[in-house]
C-alpha cells in the first residue's frame, strides 16, 4: 500500500481556538519577520471549521485583543457583551441569590459567544492568511523517529465495520513537520499518546475533568435580557459532588444553558444528563424555558485540574496547547482565552526554534518560559489548588476559592489530591451497601419531551452523524466490561455517556454491551470516567461527529 506524504514546516493538529490562534500567529510572524516562507497546515476532524466546537461560552477577550486587535472591524461574532452577572445557590425547589458576585465570576468586559461561530470566523481569518485548513481529517497516530515527534498520520477512510477496505478506501496520509503543535482538545487522543509514550505528566498531579452538557433554546421574547449571565451551585448535585449550572442570554430570545458535573463523583449510579434535566426542572430554570424550544444539544469534557496538572508541554519536535494541555481556569469557568494564548505562545516558540534551526526539546523549552512569563501562569497559579479542594466537598471548595482570592494563592503547601477522578467512583456495594434495589440512575427524573428530553433525542439535536459502515471508534475491553465492571459498578458507561452510546441490551442469551458509536458527540467522557479505564476513544473516519451550529 502506498501512503501519501506531505511535508510542512509546522503542523497544527486541531482547528479549535488554540490551533487556529497558533496558525494565525505563525502567519503574522512570517509577515513581520520575513525569511523563507513557512508552510503551515491545520488538521481538523470536523468537516467544517467549528462544527465540533462547543462551550458555554463567555469569552474573556484579552487574548483576542492581542491576536487580532481589529477584531470588531473584522466582524468577530461576539453575540452580546455581558451586562449583568447573577449567581444562585439552588435547593430542590428554592433558590438563594448571592448578594455579591464572587470576583472570579464577574464578567464585566467579557462577551457571550457561540464558540462554533467564533471558531468558524477564526478559521476564515487563518485561511485569509494563506493557512491550509484540512477539514475532515483526524490525526490517528503520532509519527515518531526515536524520541522525536516528526508528525502525524491521518485516519484511513473507507474501511467497513469489519475492518475491510471498501471500494472508497483511501489510506491515511503521513504529514511530517519540523514542529507539530498538538491542540487536539480535552483528552485529545494524540496528546494522550504523547503523555504516555514520553511520560510528560511525570511528577504532575493527576488530570481532573468535568463533563459539560449544553442545550441551545429559543425562548419567548422578554424572558431574559441579552447579556445576562447566570451561574448556579448546589441542587441537583449533592454536597460532595462538583459542578453547577449556567444560563447565558443572547439576543433574539436565544439562550445557552448547561450543566457541568465533575468527573470525580462517587455514586456509580449518578447520571450527569439526569442532573442536567433536574436542573432544567428547577423552578428558576423551568420558568425561563416555559413555552420555548430546544434547538441544539451537545456535550464536552473540560480539563479542570489547573496549573498543577498541566503536563510538560514541549518535547523534541512538538508542543501542546489549549485544552489538550489542561490550560483552563476552572474557577473562572474559562478556557478559550487561555487556549488562544497558549496557541499564540506555541506559535512564537515554534517560529523561533525553526528560525534558529533547532527544534529539539531543549530549544522548544522556550515555550514553558513564555508560559511562565505570560498571563497564563499569572491567572492559573494562584488558583492551582481550588479544584482539588472541591474534592473535599462544596464547602471546603468554596472556602479554598475564597482563600485563593484573598491570598492570591500564596499558601505554603499544595493540597495533595492523589487520585484521578475515575478512581473515586465507588462500587455498587461500596456506595449502597445492601440498600440497592435497581440499577436505574440514582437521580432518575421523568422526561416530558418539552422541557426534558432523553439522550437519544439530544443526539438528534447535536447533528451527530458518522458513516455507519466503519469500525467502532470506541475500543472497549469487553471482558472487563461484562465480567468485572458490570457486576461491580453496574455499567456506569450507560449513565455517564451523554449520548447513549453505551447500552446494555437484555437478550435471551444474557446482557450484551451494545456500542452505538454513531451517536458519539466526541465529548471523551467515556475515555476519562470508566472506572477500569478500559474504554479508548479513537477518531472515527474524518468528518464524522456532531454538527454544532450556534453552540
Amino acid at each position: 500500500m502506498t501512503r501519501e506524504t506531505l511535508e510542512v514546516d509546522v503542523l497544527i493538529v486541531g482547528g479549535g481556538p488554540a490551533g487556529l490562534s497558533a496558525a494565525i500567529r505563525l502567519a503574522q510572524l512570517q509577515q513581520q519577520e520575513g525569511g523563507d516562507p513557512l508552510s503551515i497546515a491545520v488538521l481538523e476532524k470536523a468537516r467544517d471549521a467549528g462544527a465540533h466546537m462547543l462551550s458555554g461560552a463567555v469569552l474573556d477577550p484579552s487574548t483576542l485583543r492581542d491576536l487580532i486587535p481589529d477584531f470588531a472591524e473584522r466582524g468577530a461574532p461576539l453575540a452580546a457583551p455581558v451586562e449583568r452577572d447573577r449567581v444562585y445557590f439552588l435547593a430542590q425547589s428554592s433558590s438563594y441569590r448571592l448578594p455579591i458576585i464572587p470576583p472570579p465570576l464577574r464578567n464585566h468586559g467579557n462577551y457571550i459567544i457561540s464558540l462554533n461561530a467564533f471558531v468558524r470566523w477564526l478559521a476564515g481569518q487563518a485561511e485569509g492568511q494563506g493557512i491550509d485548513f484540512f477539514g475532515g481529517f483526524a490525526g490517528q497516530t503520532v509519527l515518531t523517529d526515536g524520541g522525536r515527534v516528526i508528525g502525524v498520520r491521518t485516519g484511513d477512510r473507507g474501511i467497513d465495520k469489519y475492518g475491510q477496505p471498501k471500494p472508497t478506501f483511501e489510506p491515511g496520509v503521513d504529514i511530517t513537520a519540523k514542529v507539530t503543535i498538538f491542540c487536539d482538545g480535552v483528552r485529545g487522543n494524540l496528546t494522550k499518546e504523547l503523555l504516555r509514550t514520553f511520560q510528560l505528566a511525570r511528577g504532575r498531579q493527576p488530570e481532573q475533568f468535568a463533563l459539560g452538557i449544553k442545550e441551545l433554546w429559543d425562548v419567548p421574547a422578554g424572558r431574559l435580557e441579552p447579556g445576562t449571565v447566570i451561574h448556579s451551585l448546589g441542587y441537583p448535585l449533592r454536597q460532595d459532588e462538583f459542578g453547577g449550572g449556567f444560563i447565558y442570554a443572547m439576543p433574539e430570545g436565544r439562550v445557552s444553558l448547561g450543566f457541568v458535573v465533575g468527573l470525580d463523583y462517587k455514586d456509580p449510579l449518578l447520571d450527569p444528563h439526569m442532573a442536567f434535566n433536574r436542573f432544567k426542572q428547577h423552578p428558576l430554570v423551568a420558568r425561563l424555558l416555559e413555552g420555548g424550544q430546544m434547538v441544539r444539544y451537545g456535550a464536552k469534557a473540560l480539563p479542570e485540574g489547573g496549573w498543577n496538572t498541566v503536563p510538560q508541554p514541549y518535547l523534541d519536535g512538538a508542543l501542546i496547547a489549549g485544552d489538550a494541555g489542561g490550560f483552563l481556569n476552572s474557577m473562572r469557568l474559562k478556557g478559550i482565552h487561555l487556549a488562544m494564548r497558549t496557541g499564540m505562545l506555541a506559535a512564537e516558540s515554534a517560529f523561533e526554534a525553526i528560525r534558529a534551526g533547532d527544534t529539539s526539546a531543549a530549544s522548544l523549552a522556550r515555550y514553558q518560559r513564555k508560559i511562565d512569563a505570560s498571563p497564563v501562569r499569572a491567572e492559573l497559579y494562584p488558583v492551582r489548588n481550588v479544584h482539588q479542594a472541591f474534592g473535599y466537598g462544596l464547602l471546603a471548595g468554596l472556602a479554598f476559592a475564597g482563600l485563593a482570592v484573598l491570598t492570591r494563592g500564596r499558601w505554603v503547601e499544595d493540597v495533595v489530591h492523589g487520585e484521578p477522578g475515575h478512581e473515586r467512583m465507588q462500587t455498587l456495594t461500596g456506595y449502597y451497601g445492601t440498600r440497592l434495589t435497581a440499577l436505574t440512575p440514582s437521580n432518575q427524573t421523568a422526561v416530558d419531551r418539552r422541557l426534558t428530553f432523553d439522550k437519544v433525542t439530544g443526539v438528534h439535536y447535536s447533528g451527530a452523524a458518522h458513516d455507519e459502515d466503519q469500525p467502532s471508534h470506541l475500543l472497549v475491553h469487553t471482558d472487563v466490561c461484562s465480567a468485572i465492571c458490570g457486576p461491580e459498578y453496574g455499567h456506569p458507561c450507560t449513565r455517564f455517556c451523554p449520548a447513549n452510546v453505551y447500552e446494555i441490551v437484555r437478550e435471551p442469551a444474557g446482557p450484551r454491551l451494545q456500542i452505538n458509536a454513531s451517536n458519539c458527540v466526541h465529548c471523551k467522557t467515556c475515555d476519562i470516567m470508566d472506572p477500569y479505564a478500559v474504554i479508548t476513544w479513537v477518531p472515527p473516519e474524518g468528518g464524522g461527529g456532531p454538527q454544532y451550529n450556534g453552540m
Binding site: P167, V295, R449, H460, G463, A465, E468, D469, V505, Q514
Partner: protein, 324 residues
C-alpha cells in the same frame, strides 16, 4: 410557465416525479401560472408516455446519445438548453440524489436561484415563498426567491402526496427537443453501480412498509413481522437497533441514519419512536403503531395505535388479512 424535470433510470420513471408534479401544480395555483411542461432526459419513451397519459402538460423528451447513461455534465448541458428555450418562471424537481448531483451546477450555469429540499409552498398570491427545514427539522425557514431568471426548487420526498395529482382531461402531447452536446465536454464516465448500491433496497419506492423495532426482542421472532409484511404486500424495514444488531441489513434501516420514506401505509411494530426514527417516516400517509408502552412517542405521530403485545396482535392481523 413551470417546467418540471422528471427523473428516470433505465427508462423507469422515479415515483418521486409524481410528487414533484403535485408540488408544481400547487405552485402554479399560488403563483398564478397557467401552464406546465414536463421535461425528461435520456432514453425514456415509455416514461414519457406515462407522463403524457396523466395529461398535466406538454411532455418534452430530450434524447441524445450522450444522455443514455446519466452524467451530470451531460444533463446540465442538455437541460440548460431546454430551459433557455422554454424560459420558465420556475423549474421544479424532486429532491432526489440525482437532483442533488446536477441541479446546483445547472442553476449556476444559468445564474439562477436554487431553493432545495422545500417542504411546502407559502407566501402571497403572485409572490410564492418556500418552506425548508433547518436545524434538522426543528425550524422551518421561509425562503423568498429574488433575482431574475428561472427559480429552481427541489421538493423533499414525501412532502407532497402523489395521489393528489390533478390529471388532465386527455393525454398531453409529446414533443422531442433537439439539443447539442459536446461529448468531449462530459468529464464523468459512469461506471457500474457499486455492489452495495446494486443490492440496496430502495424503500422510498415502497407503497407499504412494516417496520420492526426493539420490541421484536430477538432475531428468531422476525418471522412474526415478515408474515404481516407478506400479508400486506409490504417491504420489511427496521429501526436502528435491529440493524445495529445485524438482524436485518443496514439498507432496511429507516431514520436519520437510514432511509427516509413516505409510503401509503407504515406499520411500526415495537418501535418506541425516537426522533431519529420519526424523521425518516413521519411523512407516511397512514401510520399504525403497535407498542406495549402507551407513553411511547411513536403514538404522537400514529394515526392508529394499539397499546399491547405485538406477538398477540400481529398474528391476529395476519389471520384477518388472509381471510380477506
Amino acid at each position: 410557465m413551470i417546467l418540471v424535470i422528471a427523473e428516470q433510470r433505465g427508462g423507469e420513471l422515479n415515483r418521486a416525479t409524481w410528487e414533484a408534479l403535485v408540488a408544481a401544480q400547487q405552485l402554479a395555483k399560488r403563483a398564478g401560472v397557467s401552464s406546465m411542461t414536463v421535461a425528461i432526459a435520456g432514453d425514456a419513451a415509455a416514461a414519457a408516455q406515462e407522463l403524457a397519459a396523466a395529461g398535466v402538460g406538454e411532455v418534452l423528451t430530450v434524447a441524445h446519445p450522450a444522455l443514455v447513461s446519466y452524467a451530470p455534465d451531460g444533463y446540465v448541458a442538455a437541460l440548460a438548453q431546454v430551459i433557455q428555450l422554454q424560459s420558465p418562471r420556475f423549474v421544479v424537481l424532486a429532491h432526489t440524489y440525482q437532483a442533488r448531483d446536477f441541479v446546483p451546477a445547472l442553476a449556476t450555469r444559468l445564474n439562477a436561484p436554487l431553493i432545495t429540499d422545500a417542504t411546502a409552498i407559502a407566501g402571497a398570491a403572485d409572490a410564492p415563498t418556500f418552506m425548508r427545514p433547518m436545524f434538522q427539522g426543528k425550524l422551518a425557514a421561509e425562503v423568498k426567491p429574488v433575482g431574475g431568471g428561472p427559480c429552481f426548487v427541489t421538493f423533499q420526498i414525501g412532502a407532497f402526496r402523489a395521489d393528489q395529482l390533478q390529471r388532465g382531461g386527455g393525454p398531453s402531447t409529446i414533443t422531442p427537443i433537439a439539443v447539442t452536446i459536446d461529448a468531449s465536454a462530459i468529464r464523468q464516465a459512469p461506471e457500474e453501480p457499486f455492489q452495495e448500491a446494486a443490492r440496496a433496497v430502495d424503500l422510498s419506492q415502497a407503497a407499504r412498509i412494516v417496520a420492526v423495532g426493539r420490541g421484536i426482542k430477538s432475531k428468531e421472532q422476525l418471522p412474526v413481522a415478515e408474515a404481516l409484511a407478506k400479508a400486506l404486500g409490504a417491504e420489511i424495514a427496521a429501526s436502528r437497533p435491529i440493524c445495529d444488531s445485524g438482524w436485518l441489513p443496514m439498507e432496511r434501516q429507516i431514520g436519520s441514519s437510514g432511509q427516509t420514506v413516505a409510503p401509503k401505509l407504515y406499520v411500526a411494530l415495537g418501535i418506541s419512536g425516537a426522533i431519529q426514527h420519526l424523521v425518516g417516516m413521519k411523512g407516511s400517509r397512514t401510520i399504525v403503531a403497535i407498542n406495549k408502552d402507551a407513553d411511547a412517542p411513536i403514538f404522537e405521530v400514529a394515526d392508529y395505535g394499539i397499546v399491547g403485545d405485538l406477538f398477540e396482535i400481529v398474528p391476529a392481523m395476519v389471520a384477518e388479512l388472509e381471510k380477506a
